[in-house]
């Protein structure tokens, strides 16, 4: 089984490629259909943010091993404008691209662990993890 995929994100078509490959990886690892849908939706939203705010970037999805269980890690990276106020971006209802996407608080609710590192003019990296129950 392939345990890592990487998809360059440059267009709306790539959003679908990324989420479909991510779903396959999650399903192959034994995630339920419901959890695989949560992972695919997470990837879709993170890829969408890349297209909307940074124009291009990439999504990496890989199998991770915890001490007692396995999971999936999604890393969405771009070299875009970055997020000036990460704390504010994590508030529900915050969006700067004309309401495209609910933003990050919604995505955080889909996964078990969520981390965002961003610096103005340096780009943004979002890491999301979902563990197998």
């Amino acid at each position: 089984m392939e345990d890592e995929i990487q998809v360059p994100i440059n267009s709306d078509q790539d959003i679908i490629v990324a989420r479909q490959k991510g779903r396959s990886l999650a399903t192959a690892l034994g995630f339920s259909s419901g959890d695989a849908t949560l992972i695919a939706t997470t990837i879709s939203e993170l890829a969408r943010n890349i297209v909307a705010y940074a124009a291009s970037g990439n999504i990496r999805v890989k199998v991770i091993n915890g001490s007692t269980r396995q999971g999936i890690q999604v890393i969405a990276h771009d070299d875009g404008p970055g997020i000036a106020d990460v704390q504010r971006a994590m508030h529900d209802g915050f969006s700067t691209s004309g309401g495209l996407g609910l933003g990050l608080p919604g995505v955080k609710r889909l996964v078990d662990e969520f981390e965002i590192v961003s610096e103005e003019n340096q780009g943004t990296t979002v890491t999301a993890k979902k563990w197998k129950p």
Partner: protein, 123 residues
């Protein structure tokens, strides 16, 4: 990928058959609104049974279509949202407010027929 739109009497039925890109969704929006006008349709059903992900853009575009259709005096029903998709939508905070939904195509047609039979004897 184009979404086929079937005309059935006063109703239109659009059946999504595979994952839709953002451009596909926008294409569906303009095609449906145009057909509603051209066919003088009273109701529209969008069948999303085969959609495995409904993200913020898809949800917002469907809500927009429903509102445009409503402004034309017609009614739209979304049918076939999968249970896993519904779960993910709620977690994400997507509510599809003010959009009518039904279990499947059959229920959607029943709903539209009820909606219009009381007000329009031609149907």
């Amino acid at each position: 990928m184009d979404v086929p739109i079937l005309k059935q009497g006063y109703f239109l039925i659009a059946t999504v058959q595979s994952a839709l890109t953002d451009s596909d969704l926008l294409q569906l929006r303009s095609a449906l609104v145009q057909r509603v006008v051209r066919c003088r349709s009273r109701g529209v059903i969008v069948d999303v049974t085969s959609l495995d992900v409904m993200d913020s853009f898809a949800s917002r575009t469907l809500r927009d279509i429903a509102q445009m259709v409503r402004l034309r005096g017609a009614k739209m029903v979304i049918v076939g949202i999968q249970p896993e998709v519904a779960f993910a939508m709620v977690q994400l905070g997507l509510k599809l407010e003010n959009v009518t939904t039904a279990l499947d195509l059959e229920e959607g047609l029943v709903h539209l027929n009820q909606e219009f039979s009381s007000t329009d004897k031609r149907l």
